[in-house]
């Protein structure tokens, strides 16, 4: 019962994060217009950077959906199954995929703007994504072991 309540609370948090991600995605359009107006010399960068940001947000949103599916499995007591390992691996892979648009953003900004502070945040973002990818890959590997042990116990007659 306690785990069920905890899972529901985390699920609500994940749904809130999903809505927040969608909200940020929508807010990026007027925000990019404001930035373009404030910096007319780099207006041409608005659309490419906007697309890159949406790709990153899509990765985050998909990872949140996978996390939600995993939480559903926890609440249904079917967490120690191979599908859960796939979900964890999926989150790790999405973190790795998110590095690609971040790298593109880094080089695009470096090529067009001299001494941009944005690139510092992009580097931090890349580091964060690497840590997330490694963390989830480790968790998935450990989970795989747990699933193997559980199957061994379940298939002991």
């Amino acid at each position: 019962m306690k785990i069920r309540v905890q899972t529901i609370i985390v699920e609500i948090g994940v749904i809130f994060a999903m809505l927040l991600t969608l909200g940020i995605g929508a807010y990026l359009v007027p925000f990019s217009n404001e930035v373009a107006k404030a910096n007319p010399t780099i207006t041409y960068m608005r659309v490419p950077v906007l697309v890159i940001a949406w790709v990153i947000l899509a990765c985050v949103l998909t990872a949140l959906v996978l996390a939600f599916l995993l939480l559903e499995r926890i609440s249904k007591n079917t967490v120690f199954e191979p599908q859960s390992v796939c979900l964890l691996r999926g989150i790790g892979i999405l973190a790795l995929v998110a590095i690609i648009p971040l790298m593109i953003l880094f080089f695009y900004t470096k090529a067009n703007v001299d001494g941009s502070i944005t690139n510092l945040y992009v580097i931090l973002g890349i580091l964060a994504m690497i840590i997330v990818a490694v963390f989830f890959s480790l968790i998935a590997a450990m989970f795989q072991k747990a699933v193997d042990y559980k199957q061994e116990v379940d298939l002991t007659v």
Partner: protein, 67 residues
Amino acid sequence: MAIIINLDMEMVKQKVSLTELSEQVGITMSNLSNLKTGKARAIRFSTLEAICEALQCQPGDILEYRG
């Protein structure tokens, strides 16, 4: 797997059905079916003992090693 379970042969010899054996041994039909079909990964000594007692046989009659 190199260990072969010959439970079905012993059951035919003793003319015991899966339901009867599961009742005598005290394990579920699904577990017994797992054992019969070779899906089981391990067998407890207590289960083996109960099966041998129910089928009046030796562990070697049920388990066979094929290299």
